[in-house]
């Protein structure tokens, strides 16, 4: 990674709508260098997509989230990867992580209703032959995600003018 790439990631992670011209000014690079660096990071799958951070709790969309601890039997030659792939292909699954500790995979699931989520666990996840056990915990409230605090607490407490 070059210094320019690191700087661009810092800036884009905070606001991916910053125009190329401003990114160039702020990093002290030319427009071409910035465009090239971003393009390169997209091609190398360092930047995967540009999406906003949404607080769904403030919308009228119904949404249930759960974290499911999954114990599985790893497969010969494939380890956990094959199981993980089987699981992440379901649309309900937002994230899958291989974990150290008392279970193997952590699966973040999202559905519209409790019933839909229960049905996912009962009829899609648990029946997979390599899944040996699940423990589902529902998300009650989100406080902070990806470094962003969801409560509206971050007001600027500085004096308007100071020496």
């Amino acid at each position: 990674m070059t210094k320019l790439e690191t700087s661009l990631l810092d800036l884009l992670q905070e606001d991916c709508r910053l125009p190329l011209e401003k990114l160039a000014v702020m990093t002290g690079a030319t427009l071409e260098e910035v465009a090239g660096a971003i393009d390169g990071m997209e091609k190398r799958h360092i930047i995967l997509r540009y999406s906003p951070m949404i607080n769904w709790d403030l919308t009228d969309r119904e949404r249930v989230e759960a974290m499911i601890e999954v114990r599985v039997t790893p497969q010969r030659d494939m380890g956990f990867d094959a199981v993980a792939r089987r699981i992440y292909r379901f649309d309900e699954v937002k994230s899958v992580y291989l974990m150290s500790g008392s279970y193997d995979l952590l699966v973040l699931v999202q559905a519209r209703t409790l019933k839909e989520l229960a049905s996912f666990v009962a009829s899609k996840l648990s029946p997979l032959e390599m899944v040996t056990g699940t423990a589902t915990s529902f998300v009650l409230k989100r406080y902070k995600e990806e470094g962003v605090v969801f409560e509206n607490e971050d007001t600027d407490r500085r004096l308007v003018i100071s020496p």
Partner: protein, 393 residues
């Protein structure tokens, strides 16, 4: 009751702060975007805050030594040695104060006698000249110019020196201009200082905020300057710790002893939790290569470039400020005075900046804009200023 008879005329002679007046004006505009702040927009890193929390939980609520916690002074000694090649004995040459502000006040009161002249680069931070008057001295402004990137030149300094000159204040990186002094600039000043046997207060509070490959040089690190310099620094800017109020002064043992005499009678000691937090800041920095400082600096640098570029595009003449977190563009092309420009900008566009004249008469024609503000807010403020400038030119 008429209080004039009771009030000290020397204090009364100092006019109220230009900042204060503008603060009152800006405070009435609830939706204004402020480029008028003089502090970081970061919060103190949590590790540092946590050190103070733990200290309170552990019941550390007592006075500290007058000069500050020994562990903190030892860390300051290591920090100055490691970062700026300055060797100060932690026990006899370092004094922990309530912000760099107290250190400046102590230094002036320790050195200035009635009638002494103190050379103060102009424009500069608002406290120096009043501090000199309070101490019984006469502040002598030394004009710095945009054509010199607001650096202090040996030539201007020489012109301002009289037989009464005793002290020079060197505030670099500079608030409000963002100017820095490089090694060769300082060496020329050192020659004048030596020739006229001046003493120097070097206020280096912005020493960590320096950009684009430039490095901070401590005045006391120059040959021959160590014995005649009081080095002042603190935690407010580098570690985003303004509200903690912790700074320090370092100098020859004899000087620190006199400053400590005033400090022990007037203050007793800097608040303990601030000192604990400051110690944590330096220890953590020493262990991880000042990671949080460098992250903040990178972030300031990007916003600095954004702002300088925008002012130049508006047609405002703007020298490249390599230090602190201020840009000091010239607004002369609008035909407005600094005061008029800032007042109208606030009324018409809800953007607050500080007139350069708040920092001395040589600030006329410029305004101070702070870039320690969120990028989205800076962008909105700059768009509004561009409208404003095009309307008024």
């Amino acid at each position: 009751m008429n209080y004039d008879r009771y009030l000290n005329p020397r204090i009364a002679s100092v006019p109220p702060s230009g900042i204060r007046r503008f603060f009152d004006l800006a405070s009435t505009r609830k939706n204004a975007i402020s480029l008028g702040v003089g502090e970081p927009d970061f919060k103190t890193p949590y590790m540092i805050r946590n050190a103070a929390i733990n200290s309170l939980v552990d019941g550390e609520t007592q006075y500290t030594a007058n000069r500050g916690l020994p562990e903190l002074r030892q860390e300051i000694g290591l920090y100055l040695k490691g970062r700026y090649q300055l060797s100060y004995d932690w026990n006899s040459q370092i004094l922990v104060t309530i912000g760099a502000s107290e250190a400046i006040d102590l230094a002036l009161r320790a050195l200035v006698s009635d009638g002494d002249e103190v050379l103060v680069p102009d424009p500069s931070y608002v406290s120096y000249a009043p501090g000199v008057v309070f101490a019984g001295g006469t502040p002598v402004p030394v004009t710095t110019y945009q054509k010199d990137d607001f650096r202090l030149t040996a030539e201007s300094l020489e012109k301002a020196i009289t037989p009464r000159s005793k002290l020079l204040i060197l505030p670099y990186p500079n608030n409000p201009t963002g100017a820095i002094m490089e090694k060769h600039d300082l060496e020329q000043i050192a020659r004048v200082v030596e020739k006229h046997d001046l003493f120097v207060i070097s206020d280096e509070i912005y020493s960590e905020l320096i950009y684009d490959g430039h490095v901070h040089v401590s005045f006391a690190a120059l040959e021959g300057m160590y014995p005649r310099t009081i080095t002042i620094n603190g935690f407010s800017k580098a570690f985003a710790m303004t509200g903690w109020r912790v700074g320090y002064a370092c100098a020859a043992e004899e000087i620190i002893a006199v400053m400590n005499k005033i400090h022990q009678y007037a203050i007793m000691c800097a608040p303990r939790q601030g000192q604990v937090a400051a110690q944590a800041a330096l220890r953590q920095g020493r262990e991880n290569g000042y990671e949080s400082v460098l992250t903040m600096r990178d972030s300031y640098d990007r916003r600095r470039r954004l702002m300088v570029n925008a002012f130049r595009q508006m047609g405002l003449e703007c020298f490249e400020p390599y230090g602190a977190f201020y840009v000091f563009p010239s607004i002369r092309c609008t035909g407005l005075s600094s005061e008029e420009f800032c007042s109208l900008l606030l009324q018409e566009k809800d953007v607050a900046a500080v007139p350069g004249t708040a920092f001395g008469p040589s600030g006329e024609g410029n305004i101070r804009c702070c870039y320690a503000t969120a990028i989205d807010k800076i962008n909105i403020a700059l768009d509004r200023m561009a409208d404003f400038v095009s309307k008024h030119t």
